[in-house]
Subunit: 193 residues, 2 copies
Amino acid sequence: MPVAKGSTIDPARTRATILEAATAVLYERGLDGIGVAELCTRLGVSKETLYRHFGTKEGLVEAMLRQRSDRVTQWLAAAAEAAGDDPRDQLTAVFDALQRWYDDPVFRGCAMLNAAAQHHVETVRAITARHLRRYLDLLTGIAERAGAADPHLLARQLLMLVEGATVVAAHHDGAGAGEHARQAALTLLSAAS
Amino acid sequence: MPVAKGSTIDPARTRATILEAATAVLYERGLDGIGVAELCTRLGVSKETLYRHFGTKEGLVEAMLRQRSDRVTQWLAAAAEAAGDDPRDQLTAVFDALQRWYDDPVFRGCAMLNAAAQHHVETVRAITARHLRRYLDLLTGIAERAGAADPHLLARQLLMLVEGATVVAAHHDGAGAGEHARQAALTLLSAAS
DNA sequence: CCAAGGTCGAACCGATCGGTACGATCTGAG
DNA sequence: CTCAGATCGTACCGATCGGTTCGACCTTGG
């Protein structure tokens, strides 16, 4: 490791561990629902360490949102890819994956949307917008492969179903939300090609 | 006015005025984005008055969310009713009304969803759930009048489109979100009957 | 073995938070 | 006119906030 300059106790791993644990706690409690002191206690880390790695609570929040967006996007894309080449199968796989998420007891809605609802900070809003854009790209690919007359319009409508299903699952009733959205998505896909 | 017991300066009107102004400010800044002191300044009211009428910041928040849910629901229902008896016209009217909302420069997404994303308080979450339920009732009526095979399923899918369009409009791009959602909704309506 | 630097824990900082207290002022019913 | 009560403005409270500092450990490259 030529780039590993002066370092002991592997700070990179410390940072990764903090990020990992903070993701879960901040998702459960909300960004402003827990102070830095209690957060550090739950993370098993001192305030000085946290501030050296992230500079600011905002810095930690942004780093964790970025990582979470990366992971969720990759996770959804992988689910679609594993379903084969048929766009209908890919769409089904996406909504099935969402349903599995909704059924998770810790499910509390989309972390990016929740964050954007609290912090009016521009950086956070930008991360959320980028997150939706990534979803849209994934859905646009499916719509194009399906031969939709207007793939961008269809993708946008599918994005609304994805986000709408997540909202309904989080705030009204998660049972079957993924399946119901999937059914609607397939109807739109059929009608658009 | 027989019920007007002992009162001067019409406290009822004071309360209504506070609620009115607080709705706008809390929507713009976020529930935790403004303190009670600054809030009172913007409202042109003293802290003592605010606390006498609402007891707590939480009390104010809940009262304003309830009122907002009432109004928004009535506003959407009125838009649907004014469109006549055809379910397709009613659905169109709903999404057209939403689009007008998205185009408002102060639009910041659904206030109830934003609130539920920040406050994990059970009361707030209950108000949000009731709000979605009201939307669902409105859409169920339309789905039933349209003769849908499974009106409850269709209504749920339409609800996802409504909420999804609102999320996309707030966090990605509001231009045309209402129209695109309306188009998808009409497709689902046609396919379900 | 030694020095550099990551980490800890706790004390500490000023600012702000939600909420209370109080005297002064104003309003309107009797 | 009088007096109850609504309102104001301000000072104040304890708690908590995000963030800093420091001395003591501990780990590890040289």
